[in-house]
């Protein structure tokens, strides 16, 4: 029979006699169960993210099929140099993120910290470049709304293209900013030496998130910057 003292009001009360990991939450039987649940939860979350971007990509797909000329002309107004540079930056950040996870897995605290900082710096670089790109769009009048301005016969449809450009890259940038916040917390935890080869789930899961955000960009870059460009170069 449980007496009142043995019952915890929260799940992180530590009233047990046996020794367990400080990160172990009491409603899980074992650490393995906890890690499996967290990982599954993260994957399910990423699926919801795919559906989230999916709504916008569906709109993109329909309008691209309807208005290929506007898509071609709109995409040529995007800065392929900056976009390409950002693609390399993000792929690089995925590498450093993977290295940070590996470092956490092997219990190399210093490595985890260094690779996390590198990942965050690369993420920040991406965002700064993005700000310059957006600024350029404001100057050329390519921001949808009352002041939108686009030469040529496909102006109105190009406004749809730029609406989708801003929605997709904006939503992606928002995910980068959230990722930056998450990595800050992970960095702080790594600094406090919270991770060990027995428990590094948070590093692994934020890594999954970071890779997901990268992969979204890997789709966005060709869809927005490269679409039908070769056709017009020739």
């Amino acid at each position: 029979m449980p007496d009142a003292a043995a019952i915890h009001a929260g799940d992180d009360g530590h009233g047990h006699e046996h020794v367990h990991h400080p990160a172990h939450q009491h409603h899980f039987q074992t650490m393995e169960q906890q890690a499996e649940a967290s990982t599954l939860g993260m994957w399910v979350f990423l699926i919801t993210e795919v559906m989230f971007f999916g709504g916008l990509l569906m709109a993109y797909l329909i309008y691209r099929v309807w208005y290929p000329e506007a898509w071609s002309e709109g995409s040529q107004e995007l800065n392929i140099i900056l976009g390409g540079f950002n693609t390399v930056v993000l792929i690089g950040s995925s590498l450093t993120m993977a290295l940070a996870v590996r470092a956490a897995q092997t219990g190399w605290r210093k490595g985890t910290i260094v690779f996390l900082i590198l990942t965050m710096m690369l993420g920040l670089t991406f965002l700064v470049v993005k700000v310059f790109e957006y600024k350029e769009k404001f100057e050329t009048g390519h921001v949808p709304g009352p002041n939108f301005h686009f030469e040529g016969p496909f102006g109105p449809q190009a406004e749809i293209f730029f609406s989708l450009y801003f929605a997709l890259t904006g939503l992606h940038a928002l995910h980068m900013i959230i990722g930056f916040g998450i990595l800050s917390v992970i960095l702080w935890m790594a600094w406090r030496n919270k991770f060990s080869p027995q428990w590094y789930t948070p590093v692994e899961l934020s890594g999954l998130y970071w890779h997901f955000v990268d992969i979204v960009w890997i789709f966005l870059f060709p869809l927005l910057y490269l679409v039908d460009r070769a056709h017009n170069v020739v």
Partner: protein, 536 residues
């Protein structure tokens, strides 16, 4: 059964307000949801009362047409997003899922609490939109009216819906992981109670559908607020694309509303027939089938929106297909009753109400799925009556069946069986009186969403408004006898219905961590045949 009862339970372990607002206990979070959902239900009912009062006379004499537009919009927004979607999963699901699985809690208790806060924030935005002038687009937010024509608070209400969506997503995620990872030893998939199968299927829809409506409503909001062009016909945008994206979620959302009550019906019907559910695995898989088929039928809302007749035919066919698993459930429940030892307690009366109303709602769904008939009845009161039969007649009746079933477990006290039976019958009568005339009105051609109508429709409309009064009284009754039961009800004991299932093996109200010892499961969910039948 319990040898001894602990004096400490999840309700009295700590009674401070802070202990409720920062609780991670799934049982307390369920109660928190119950409070907010009940407020939303009362709010939605007040708007409905306004609608029925206006329609009591043919002239538009009570409110202006603008106010009427706001009334039905806010009735829809409050009822769909803040009552029907969370009512069974977030209240009863949160409370019983970990108990049914023999777990201490859901997989992510903090996330569960966060879901509630997100829900409250979304609700606050929606309330703010209502008190600062209201919304008049209909709960469907169709552009170009929502992006361009309407002068009402579309952005604020849209934001409320967008935020609430994340509460739904996180709850679905939490339930999926919980069902996968938190089952007690021996609790295999085919020993799970059917309510768990229903919750799993619902979570699937929440996780896959809700993000799409979130982004779609967000697109409306930014189009309206910042002038981005997604659905603007002046640019070549297509308002029908919005309808596709919107219904891609909002049709499956119907299954978010009806699947958990269906699961609840399976629990109650097995207990009060003292029998295993007939064709357990068919009922279990029909939940999954409904969730999957549910994603393939959305364009039946667009039959008159100018979509291609060929895709309309495909969607019409698929809509008929989704009726099959629903029929499987109904037939199997009936077969469960057959030669069962029927025990006519209050929850069972609510179940019978559900069966009757869901049957009519389901069968009239076939009318609306038929292309030719749908052109005649589209946007008429026939459709209004049809979906109220499913959503109120099905989902809300199912919720009340479940609430009456689990009330002794949640509070540890019994309520008046006679009063609860009277309420069930009053709701059933009032509901039919309100909505059956609307089938006839719609068939005769009365369109929905108008605040006046030709005098020849007056008799049926008056009947409908009178029925709404009866229905309202029927819903007031539970509030009274449940409140009475909280203070004066007899002690329920751990298992007043002598039901199977792990949730009945712990005391009522349950311990803060549910079970004194980790339960182990050795048999299926509904082994009533192995139990002594005591029907009093």
């Amino acid at each position: 059964m319990l040898a001894t009862e602990s004096p400490v339970n999840y309700l009295n372990v700590n009674t401070s307000v802070a202990s409720w607002l920062f609780t991670k206990d799934h049982k307390r979070i369920a109660i928190l949801y119950m409070v907010v959902v009940t407020i939303a239900f009362i709010l939605g009912a007040i708007f409905a009362a306004g609608i029925r009062l206006e329609l009591a006379t043919p002239e538009g004499d009570l409110v202006s047409s603008d106010t009427y537009n706001k009334l039905f919009t806010m009735h829809g927004v409050a009822m769909v997003f803040f009552v029907l979607i969370p009512v069974v999963p977030a209240i009863l699901g949160n409370f019983v899922l970990p108990l049914m699985l023999g777990a201490k809690d859901v997989a992510f208790p903090k996330l569960n609490l966060l879901s509630w806060y997100v829900f409250v924030i979304g609700f606050t935005f929606t309330i703010a939109a209502m008190v600062t002038g209201g919304v008049d687009t209909g709960w469907t937010f169709y552009p170009p009216y929502s992006t361009d024509g309407s002068n009402s608070n579309v952005v604020l209400a849209g934001l409320g819906v967008f935020i609430t969506g994340f509460s739904s997503i996180l709850t679905g995620l939490n339930f999926m992981v919980t069902i996968h990872r938190m089952r007690a030893p021996g609790l295999t998939w085919f020993r799970l109670p059917l309510f768990v199968w229903a919750l799993y299927s619902t979570s699937l829809v929440m996780v896959l559908g809700t993000p799409v409506v979130a982004i779609t409503v967000a697109m409306i909001a930014v189009e309206r607020a910042f002038g981005l062009g997604f659905f603007d016909p002046r640019l070549g945008g297509d308002p029908v694309l919005f309808q596709h994206l919107f219904w891609f979620y909002s049709h499956p959302a119907v299954y978010i509303m009806i699947l958990p009550p269906m699961g609840m019906i399976s629990e109650v019907i097995a207990c009060f027939s003292r029998k295993n559910v007939f064709g357990y695995s068919f009922v279990a898989f029909s939940s999954l089938a409904i969730a999957i088929f549910g994603f393939l039928v959305w364009a039946h809302h667009l039959f008159v929106a100018g979509i291609s007749p060929y895709s309309a035919m495909v969607f019409s066919f698929l809509t008929y297909a989704v009726a099959v698993p629903s029929a499987v459930k109904t037939f199997n429940w009936t077969a469960t009753l057959y030669r069962g030892a029927i025990w006519l307690k209050a929850p069972m009366i609510w179940v019978f109400g559900f069966l009757g109303l869901f049957l009519i709602g389901g069968l009239t769904g076939l009318f609306t799925a038929a292309l030719g008939i749908d052109i005649h009845i589209h946007d008429t009161y026939f459709v209004v009556a049809h979906f109220h039969y499913i959503m109120v007649g099905g989902a809300i009746m199912g919720y009340f069946a479940g609430l009456h079933y689990y009330w002794p477990k949640i509070t540890g006290r019994m309520y008046s069986d006679g009063a609860a039976k009277a309420a069930a019958m009053l709701v059933f009568a009032g509901f039919n009186m309100t909505f059956f005339p609307q089938f006839i009105l719609g068939y005769l051609g009365m369109p929905r969403r108008y605040h006046m109508y030709p005098p020849e429709f007056a008799a049926l409309n008056i009947l409908s408004s009178a029925g709404a009064t009866v229905l309202g009284l029927g819903y007031l009754l539970p509030m009274m006898y449940f409140t009475y039961s909280l203070f004066k009800g007899a002690k329920a004991g751990p298992n007043p219905w002598r039901a199977t299932g792990l949730e009945w093996q712990t005391q009522s109200p349950p311990l803060p961590h549910n079970f004194a010892v980790q339960p182990v499961v050795t048999e299926g969910a509904y082994e009533y045949s192995k139990r002594e039948i005591k029907v009093a």
